[in-house]
Amino acid sequence: MTYVLSRLWKQKPMRRPVDPQLAIGLALLGLLVLVAVCAPLIAPYGPWTISGAPYLPPLSDHHLLGTDTLGRDVLSGIIYGARISLLVGIAAALAGICIGTVIGGLAGYFGGIVDDLLMRFTEFLQTMPGFVLALVLLAVMGPSIWSIVLAIALVSWPSIARLMRAEFLSLRSREFILAATVLGESHLKIVWTHMLPNAVGPIISIASLKVAAAILTESTISFLGLGDAGQISWGLMIGTSRALLRTAWWTSVFPGVALFLTVLALTLIADGIGRSLDGRRQSML
């Protein structure tokens, strides 16, 4: 895996030992994806099923992480919640990256007035308080998974667009792009075969951070009770058990731990990729 990744963004396969942080991040994320995909197989109960007495503490029989106010199994909720978190996180980040790459790429490749207009707009959106704007958008669209995805995507693309613009701008003046232009290759071909593949490293690194940010945003929205109440998610679980903090702390602690591990994994991956992109520069001091 690391080798494949290294092929993607570095010309040279790494002879160094695998970055431990990257390895931990990838392992954790792999585990989470597995849990999310196999949720019905590994979860002891359904997420909404009343499966025992209410307020069972952790380590009770049949309820490893206890039960909530209605007697629903916390572990099962966490396992099913992974689906929504990852789904919303990945979908929103993906949409944001697509929008950001197209807009940033257009601005960076063509420059001039196209660049000016697109970047003024991007800067404008970037000065907006993103989360507030997402909430307002959500209020306009009504709460559902897809409107959450859309709202997060709409507020997260500007930073990606700026990064991609900078990437494309620096690639555009590289000599191999000039050579391709002089050889008569079309704009589309140049962008597709030369520019995008060379911008893939930074894209993967920022994508990982964006997925993490999207998961955090989604959980905050659900926590505040502004999300889709029909879908179990970690934020929703914490939000509904907020009032039970004094009586049943486990109902809010464990979903938070799951959230923490997910975001941690994604951050470790982003950092690891960032480090390998930086290469082996030497400190002068």
Partner: protein, 540 residues
């Protein structure tokens, strides 16, 4: 004064070789200049750094051997002990003047802090006077203004003078100069070299001069040490090493230096022109504030022509507009006025399919062997991409590409490799094959050999000359190195600040320069005086 014995600098595990520098020993006497010469990767720079204790952090623990300055052992000093040596006993000048100074600290303060660092307590006024005197000593005419400027506000030559001032502020015994003129234009280079020589004469310091340029060696060295792959190949007096090298590697290096004495004979008659530049003007506009734009002229009233089968050299210093001409000719940048004709048709009026056709006829080989190939594209695909874009069948294009790669000296096993697996010289060969793949009428070589080591440079130049003769190519050879221009071109155009100052047959330009500026350029070529002397001697 300086005695280096068995200096050995290891490389961390996983490097290309076990040692950056292996058991080298040399001596330098006070008042003398030792030139440490070698190609890239020879370990010459890290040797210079190690003598000042400035090698990268991870190499510090891997350095062994003895470095003695006036009998005092320097190797094994702690960083705190080094602080007292550096600046006071050893001064260092680096290659890149742009980045060698702190961008947000005024130049004067960067000089003044040396005194405080070495415990010299001075009043404000004394400090100011010292700094001004120091700046004057390195040839800066308005020390007050420069001291009060930031490094980005002064020219490259001035910056390098300031770095030299930092190095000689406390009159060190030893000056280490690590390629101090490589990033400078040839005339500025000459001034900086003269400045170092003056300072040396005044103070009697020893100079360890690290360079790759044998021209500079011929001009300034007393002693020469030649390095190859971390080893000291040959060490001796200048006359001995340059005139009668003992080692084949040294001979190879000396022979590879392009020489001014052999110009190509000028052609008797000129065939029909392929490209005609008529009164071309171009400027770059620089944003100034939100709405205003300032126009910086890049080319002013440039007219010249290139005839079929000719090699024309465009020479000039940085900012003279020589690369801009290449970009105008390939339509990579627009032109404000004037006309460029390609065999009678107006190149600037073309668009769409016609432009694509015209572009095919004018191909370019770029300077940077690392930047000019897509790191993610196989070599064969890079070469075949041009013909494919012009409608050649894919299989046929790849077959032709393989043939071309063979023509430029790469064998069939390399086809499916990625650019990072090749050396700089090989990459330039691939770049040449890529340009030739679409069968151009004019090949532009934009500083195509400037980034290469001198032996590789000679090989690539020979390849270009062979190809030119074999394929009857017309070539526009853009270079800042007049020695190369003299060697390869039939005609030479000299540019300065976007204007043509002189053009004509290469032999005329080099033997009988008419313009003052051309003469200055020729006079500033490193190794020129030495070469002239030997040329004069050979005539007698």
């Amino acid at each position: 004064m300086l005695n280096v014995r068995y200096l050995r600098i290891g490389l961390p595990v996983g490097g290309d070789r076990g040692f950056a520098v292996e058991d080298i020993s040399f001596d330098l006497a006070a008042g003398k200049t030792l030139c440490l010469v070698g190609e890239s990767g020879s370990g010459k720079s890290v040797t210079g750094q190690a003598i000042a204790g400035l090698q990268p952090k991870i190499l510090r623990g891997l350095t062994t051997g003895s470095i003695k300055l006036d009998g005092v052992e320097l190797s094994g000093l702690t960083q705190r002990e080094w602080q007292a040596i550096r600046g006071r006993q050893i001064g260092v000048v680096f290659q890149e003047p742009m980045t060698a100074l702190n961008p947000i600290m005024k130049v004067g303060r960067q000089l003044a802090e040396i005194y405080a660092a070495h415990g010299i307590r001075l009043s404000r006024a004394e400090l100011r006077d010292r700094v001004h005197a120091l700046l004057e000593r390195v040839g800066i005419r308005e020390p007050g203004r420069i001291a009060n400027s930031y490094s980005f506000e002064i020219s490259g030559g001035q910056r390098q003078r300031v770095v030299i001032a930092c190095a000689v502020a406390l009159s060190p015994k030893l000056l280490i100069a690590d390629e101090p003129t490589t990033a400078l234009d040839v005339t500025t280079q000459q001034q900086v070299l003269e400045l170092i020589a003056d300072l040396q004469q005044e103070s009697g310091m020893g100079v360890l001069f690290v360079t790759h340029d044998f021209g500079i060696v011929a001009d300034i060295a007393d002693e020469v040490a030649v390095m190859q792959a971390g080893k000291l190949v040959e060490c001796g007096s200048k006359a001995q090493v340059l005139k009668a090298p003992k080692q084949p590697y040294t001979r190879q290096l000396v022979d590879a230096v392009p020489c001014l004495t052999e110009c190509r004979p000028c052609p008797v008659c000129r065939p029909a022109p392929l490209v005609v530049f008529k009164a071309v003007c171009k400027h770059y506009s620089v944003a100034e504030g939100l709405f205003r734009r300032r126009k910086n002229p890049a080319l002013t009233d440039v007219s010249f022509d290139i005839c079929k089968g000719e090699v024309v050299a465009l020479v000039g210093e940085s900012g003279s507009g020589k690369s801009t001409i290449a970009r105008c000719l390939t339509r990579l940048t627009p032109v404000e006025s004037g006309s460029i004709q390609l065999e009678g048709s107006d190149l600037l009026a073309l668009g769409g399919a016609e432009l694509k056709q015209a572009r095919r006829r004018v191909q370019i080989v770029f300077q940077d062997p690392y930047g000019s190939l897509d790191p993610r594209q196989k070599v064969i695909d890079a070469v075949a991409a041009g013909p494919i874009a012009h409608g050649v069948d894919k299989d046929q294009a790849r077959a032709e590409a393989a043939e071309l790669l063979r023509l430029v000296g790469l064998n069939a096993t390399v086809l499916d490799r990625f650019p990072h697996e090749f050396s700089g010289g090989q990459r330039q060969r691939i770049g040449i094959a890529r340009a030739l793949a679409v069968k151009p009428d004019l090949l532009i070589a934009d500083e195509a050999v400037s980034a290469l080591d001198v032996t590789v440079q000679a090989q690539v130049l020979r390849l270009l000359q062979d190809l030119q003769e074999k394929l009857g190519l017309t070539m526009l050879f853009i270079t800042h190195d007049l020695r190369i221009a003299a060697q390869v071109s039939d005609r030479t155009v000299v540019l300065r600040n976007g204007r043509i100052v002189e053009m004509g047959a290469t032999e005329d330009i080099f033997r009988r320069p008419q313009d003052e500026y051309t003469r200055k350029l020729l006079g500033a070529i490193p190794g020129m005086q030495a070469a002239e002397r030997s040329y004069a001697a050979s005539l007698q």
